[in-house]
């Protein structure tokens, strides 16, 4: 992940990037602007939380897979324990991923969480407990996605290292075997 927007290539999946951003932006915008139009807290709550939940679903299931090639989920195995599963594409496909896509993916994730934190601080200052509830729910969803994908990425890196060392070891042993067979 780099700090500068990589130029020189366009988005590989522009529609998906749009959807990735639009639900987040809609939730934030609705929350901020709704106080001007709607009197009822219930509508604000339900709509904002619904948009945030839709965004969570889109990021977790669609844009995570396609933009950065990562997936995470939870399963309950036969012993009744919960197991977190992480999955990623292999290294060549990952290297081929569009840099701009993944830049957008990660940065919007972080920025959304940051915005919700800022909005939460505002509502704390104003002692609006019910708006804090909305912010709390949306923040939980954003952070869940961030944590899930970050762990997935770390797991992927660990896997690649293990795989690389395993490949080197196996190649080493096979060359030694072939050397002995020739002799």
């Amino acid at each position: 992940m780099d700090l500068i927007l990589p130029t020189g290539e366009s988005y590989a999946h522009p529609k998906l990037c749009f959807f990735h951003v639009v639900f987040k932006a809609a939730a934030l915008a609705f929350y901020i602007l709704s106080a001007l139009f709607f009197d009822s807290f219930v509508i604000i709550f339900v709509t904002t939380v619904l948009l945030a939940a839709l965004d969570f679903w889109v990021v977790k299931n669609v844009s995570g897979r396609i933009l950065v090639g990562l997936r995470w989920w939870n399963e309950i195995n036969d012993e009744g324990e919960s197991v977190w599963k992480f999955e990623c594409l292999d290294q060549e496909s990952l290297a081929r991923m569009n840099k701009k896509d993944s830049w957008l993916f990660w940065w919007t994730l972080y920025l959304t969480a940051l915005s919700w934190i800022v909005l939460g601080i505002f509502s704390l200052i104003r002692f609006e407990a019910d708006y804090l509830l909305v912010v709390g729910v949306c923040l939980t969803l954003s952070i869940a996605n961030i944590v899930g994908f970050t762990r997935c990425r770390k797991d992927a890196k660990k896997q690649f290292q293990a795989f690389a060392s395993q490949t080197i070891a196996s190649r080493f042993s096979s060359t030694i075997q072939s050397a002995f067979s020739i002799v």
Binding site: H13, K15, L16, F19, S40, F41, V42, F45, V46, V49, A53, W57, K60, N61, V62, R65, I66, G69, R71, W73, N74, E75, I76, D78, E79, G80, E81, S82, V83, K85, F86, E87, C88, L89, D90, Q91, E92, S93, R96, M97, A129, D130, L133, D155, A156, Q159, F160, F163, Q166
Partner: protein
């Protein structure tokens, strides 16, 4: 794109899961353990949510014969991983360059399939929790495919109904109801965990959310008919139903001496929600 399906999919426990699932498949089906086709079957495999033994979000079995010996299968198809019970099944039709499945023509198509699948999951979880069925006694198996969408909708629905029934202070009623139910579910789960019980956090949250469905129905009835006696009767019935639904999961999770300690707060929470429903006017 014939090269598309040779891109290996690198996953953590995928091969183990596939192995186990193939064993289960071969015992459940009468046919021999087949050599699976190199290509995933063209209709996307619908997750088997009716079987309690196979979690519905297992990926379709890749060709085991290719997969296991080497971490880089030479000619194995890369099965597009199914998303966790969701994510376009339409996206799994083709195998694109990413190895995950080609993006669909429109984003709306797979969304609908996904929504359908999630909805069916919610319905099946609902049936398992709220209605009598043989798997109730085993909490691990009963709510295997927990999901939080169902509980989310039911809690919001209850809050909305209570808010509509209230003639004043609608927003406060909604906020209080939502916060009470959400925080209550979390605290009840923590209670069981602290009593030394064996439950999974999210599974228990999911369960407590689904057990609210009878109270949802009760609240709806109370909103429509204003007779106090009818309200009390309806609330009592639905309260008993909710408690009956929650009982086996909670009680089997802790050791028998502490059963009452685990169950009493659950009962208390449902009684307070019942009071809220009756008292709203």
């Amino acid at each position: 794109m014939s090269h598309g399906d040779t891109i290996p999919l690198h996953s953590t426990s995928q091969s183990d899961i596939d192995e186990i699932e193939n064993l289960i498949h071969s015992t459940l089906q009468s046919g021999p353990a087949t050599v699976l086709p190199a290509r995933p079957p063209s209709p996307p495999r619908i997750p088997v949510s009716s079987s309690p033994f196979i979690p519905s979000n297992l990926p379709p079995p890749p060709p085991v014969s290719h997969h296991k010996p080497t971490p880089v299968p030479a000619a194995a198809a890369a099965p597009p991983p199914p998303p966790q019970g969701s994510g376009g099944s339409g996206q799994q039709q083709g195998i694109g360059a990413t190895g995950f499945g080609s993006p669909p023509n429109t984003l709306t198509e797979p969304v609908w399939d996904t929504v359908k699948r999630d909805l069916s999951r919610i319905v099946s979880n609902l049936k398992l929790v709220v209605f009598p069925n043989p798997y109730r006694e085993d909490p691990g198996k009963a709510l295997r495919d927990w999901d939080l969408w169902g509980p989310f909708f039911f809690i919001v629905f209850l809050g909305l109904v209570l808010s509509w029934s209230a003639s004043v202070k609608k927003s406060e009623v909604f906020a209080v109801a939502f916060a009470l139910l959400a925080a209550g579910a979390v605290i009840l789960t923590l209670n069981v965990l602290l009593l030394g019980g064996h439950i999974i956090f999210f599974q228990s949250l999911s369960l407590l959310g689904y057990c609210l469905v009878p109270l949802d129905i009760g609240a709806l009835v109370c909103m429509l008919y204003d007779n106090v006696i009818l309200k009390v009767i309806v609330v009592c019935v639905t309260l008993a139903w909710s408690s009956w639904a929650a009982y086996p999961f909670m009680s089997t999770a802790v050791n028998p001496k502490r059963k009452a300690l685990a169950l009493y707060p659950v009962l208390l929470m449902y009684v307070s929600v019942g009071f809220l429903i009756v008292a709203i006017d």
